[in-house]
Symmetry: C2
């Protein structure tokens, strides 16, 4: 399904419904830095998030070091943020809450 | 177990036994960029590598986007590269070969 790039207005109002996510300065991605108790918890989060990414066929850019996972979501084919990014962000929030 | 920082000479000869790893410019970490066929393969590699990291109690800094995993290994407590980094690098090579 072709995804349309969302307007900054829609992105801003959608971000208001999520905790700790922000629009990056370049305006083409949303990002969050997650913090867990241990590496094992951080990686368990990543495992659940990876499954959601496969289901959505939409994948994160992410960096992990020990208990920290920095996530950046963008839709390359649309050149910006789409509804898919928010669906993956929501799945990640759910995965993080389970830790 | 306290790990001693390895000399550049030892690091260089150890790197020669691994494929595609290099010493970073700052001299305190070894790094490799892995490439897989799909996100699923890349994440399966990460899952096996994460288990090795837990066994060694030594963890990577790594970045993933789709089929690519950039890894950086260093031993913070030693301020450089130690034998632990090479043990984790070898475990990662084994995990990558299984994909």
């Amino acid at each position: 399904m072709k995804q349309d790039k969302l307007s900054t207005e829609v992105i801003t109002s959608s971000l208001a419904m999520l905790e700790g996510w922000k629009l990056e300065d370049d305006g083409v991605a949303i990002a969050k830095s997650f913090r867990f108790k241990t590496f094992a918890s951080a990686f368990a989060f990543m495992t659940e998030a990876a499954q959601a990414a496969e289901r959505l066929n939409h994948h994160p850019e992410w960096f992990n070091v020990y208990d920290k996972v920095d996530v950046r979501l963008t839709t390359h084919s649309a050149g910006g943020v789409t509804a898919l990014d928010f669906r993956l962000a929501e799945a990640m929030e759910k995965a993080a809450r389970a830790r």
